[in-house]
Symmetry: C2
Subunit: 341 residues, 2 copies
C-alpha cells in the first residue's frame, strides 16, 4: 500500500518505466490532461499506487514558476484576532488548493519592512500582508514586484489590492450603540497620538463623529493613549483613566484585547459592568462571547475578509492586469451583556 524505498526515491521516471510509458505521459496523467486513453491512465495510476509515487513539488515549482504557497504576514498569532484571521485564511486557501506560510512581524516596523523583501518571497507566489506599524510614508516599500494584498487601512492609494473594513463607520456604530444605552461619558482606550491613517485614528474619528452627531461634547481626557493593542494595554489604560479621576460611564476598546483588559481592570477595582460602566470592543473574537460579563463588540466579517483576500491574491497571481481593487468588508454590531443588552 505505502511507498517502498527511501524517501524521495520514486520519480516520474520510475513510474514511467514501471508502466511502460514515457515520462511525459505520467506527467499528463498526474495533471489530468484530457486526451489519455483510459487503459493508459489505468496502467499509470496502477504504477503510481504500487510505487507510492509522490510528485516532487520543488521540481514542479521550478518548472512552473509557482510554488502553490501564499504568504501571510501578521503581527502575532498570540493575538486572538490574528489567530482567528489566520485560521480563516488557511481554510480559504485550502479550499482553493494552496497552502499558507505564516510570518510574524511582531509590532516591529523593521520586521514589517523585512518581510516584504525577504528571500522567502521567492518561496511564495504572493503575500497577504497585515501591517501594523507601516504608514503612508512607507508606501514605496510596498511597491513590490509580486502579488500583494494589504489588509487594513494604514496605507492608502498604492498599486496593490486592499481588503479592509469601514473603520470609521464601524467605530461610529459602536459609539452610537453606547449612546443608545444612555451613555454620555464614553472613554476610548488604545488611541495612537499623531497617527492619521491607521485603524486607531480612523476608529477614534468614528467615535468623534458619533459624539458630534448626538450633540455630546468631546472631552479629550476621555481619549486614552495605548500603543500595542494587547490585553495588558487595555488594563493599563483603564488604570490610568481611573487614576486621572475623570468621570466615565462607558469604555470603547479599540479592539477586543483592549476591552478584555479593561474588563479585567474594572473588575479588579470593583467597578461593575455594564453598570456603572458599559464596555464595547472591536473584532468580535471568540472570547467576547465567553467573558463575564460577555463583551459587546463589532464583528468585522473576518471570514469575508479572509476569503476576499485569498481570492484577490489568487486572481493577481493568475495574472491579468485588472485594476487594483479595494474591498470593504461588512461589519455588524454585536450587543452583549457588557453594554447592558
Amino acid at each position: 500500500m505505502s511507498g517502498s524505498g527511501v524517501r524521495g526515491t520514486v520519480t516520474m521516471h520510475d513510474v514511467a518505466a514501471a508502466a511502460g510509458v514515457s515520462v511525459k505521459t505520467v506527467s499528463n496523467v498526474v495533471n489530468d490532461y484530457p486526451h489519455i486513453r483510459p487503459a493508459t491512465r489505468e496502467k499509470v495510476q496502477k504504477a503510481i499506487d504500487e510505487l507510492g509515487y509522490r510528485m516532487n513539488l520543488s521540481a514542479r515549482s521550478l518548472r512552473q514558476g509557482r510554488t502553490g504557497i501564499i504568504g501571510l504576514a501578521l503581527p502575532e498569532l498570540s493575538l486572538p484576532y490574528f489567530a482567528e484571521l489566520a485560521d480563516s485564511v488557511i481554510r480559504a486557501a485550502e479550499a482553493r488548493g494552496v497552502v499558507v506560510l505564516i510570518e510574524q512581524t511582531g509590532a516591529d516596523r523593521q520586521h514589517e519592512l523585512d518581510v516584504l523583501t525577504s528571500d522567502r518571497r521567492q518561496l511564495t507566489d504572493g503575500l497577504i500582508f497585515s501591517p501594523l506599524e507601516l504608514g503612508p510614508d512607507d508606501a514605496d516599500a510596498l511597491k513590490v514586484d509580486y502579488p500583494l494584498v494589504v489588509l487594513g487601512e494604514r496605507i492608502f492609494g498604492g498599486d496593490w489590492d486592499h481588503v479592509t473594513m469601514n473603520n470609521v463607520d464601524a467605530a461610529r456604530a459602536a459609539t452610537q450603540h453606547l449612546i443608545d444605552q444612555g451613555r454620555r461619558r464614553i472613554a476610548v482606550i488604545g488611541a495612537h497620538a499623531g497617527e492619521t491613517m491607521g485603524s486607531a485614528a480612523l476608529r477614534v474619528l468614528g467615535y468623534q463623529a458619533a459624539l458630534a452627531a448626538n450633540g455630546i461634547p468631546l472631552d479629550p481626557a476621555l481619549i486614552v493613549e495605548g500603543g500595542l493593542w494587547h490585553r495588558a494595554t487595555g488594563a493599563d489604560c483603564v488604570a490610568r483613566l481611573v487614576e486621572s479621576g475623570v468621570e466615565f460611564d462607558a469604555i470603547f476598546g479599540l479592539n477586543d484585547a483592549l476591552a478584555l483588559g479593561a474588563l479585567h481592570a474594572l473588575h479588579a477595582r470593583g467597578i461593575d459592568v455594564p453598570d456603572p460602566v458599559a464596555v464595547i470592543g472591536f473584532d468580535d473574537i471568540e472570547d467576547a462571547a465567553y467573558t463575564s460579563p460577555t463583551l459587546s463588540s463589532i464583528s468585522p466579517g473576518r471570514e469575508q475578509i479572509a476569503q476576499e483576500a485569498v481570492d484577490l491574491l489568487l486572481a493577481r497571481i493568475a495574472g491579468g492586469g485588472d485594476p487594483y481593487r479595494r474591498v470593504i468588508a461588512d461589519f455588524t454590531v454585536v450587543p452583549r451583556e457588557s453594554t447592558g443588552v
Copy 2:
C-alpha cells in the same frame, strides 16, 4: 536600490554575466564559500545588489532535496492554546532559519491521517504533528518515511520523536491545588469516555490519583464528559453538572478553554468564583490572566515544548540515526483568583 525588471527575471546567470565570472562563482559567493578572492566577492556582490538578484528557492530545493520549510499540523488556530503554540514554534523555527507551514486538521480523524500522507509532505522537510483524534490503533499511520515529531501523548512507543508533558502529574498537581484550598467535591469537565491514552484520560487519571492520595472518595457523577475542548463545551458541561443536581465546590477544566466556558456558565447562573465554586484550568493561555476572576491554571512550558520540538525535528532532518527521543516538558501550577489565592 531595488530590483529592475519583471519578477523572477534575474538569475545567477545574469549576475555572473554582469560580474564577469562563472555561475558557480556566484553560487559560491551567495553560499559563503570561504575561498573567494575579496575582489571577486565584491564584484559579485555589487552585481547582485545592482540587479536585485534573489535566489530561486525552488531551484535550490530541487538540487538540495531540502526546502527549508517545516510543517506544523494542529487542530485549529482559533483555539488559543494552539495559536500560542504556533506562535512559539514559528519563533523557534525562525531563530533556526526555517519557516513554518501550518495545516489545520480540525478535530477530524481522517484529516489527521491525510496530513501525514499529503502531497505537501514533499514541500516540507519534516513535520511537527499535534494529533487529537489519532490513538494507539493508528500507530501504523505514523510510520512515515520523513522526519516526524509528535506532540502530546495520544500515541506511544512508535519510531518517532515525542515532545509531551507529564499529563498525569500535572493534573494531579492541579487537583491537589484545589484540595489544598479545602475543596472536596471537585468536578472534572471534558472527560473522554473510553479513551485510554489521550490527554483527557491521563489528566483524569491524575485527578483520581490526587483524590486517592487525600482519601477523598471518587464520585463518578463529578466526571463530566465533553468532546471538543472548546469554550462552548465547557459551558455545556457546567450546565449539565448543575442540572444534574450534584453538589460540587470546584471545577477542574481539562484545558483552559473548557475552564473559560465554565466560568462563563457559572457567571450566567449567578454562581460566584472562587466561592462557592473554585475553578482551575490547564494550559495557561494568555486569557487566563485576564478573565474575571483570573483563572488558575497549569503552565505546560509551551516555549520549551516548541523549542524542543523544532530542535528534535531539525536534528532528525540533518540526519544521523539517533535513537528516538521522548522529551517531557516541565509544568508549573499557576494559582490565580479562581482558586481563591
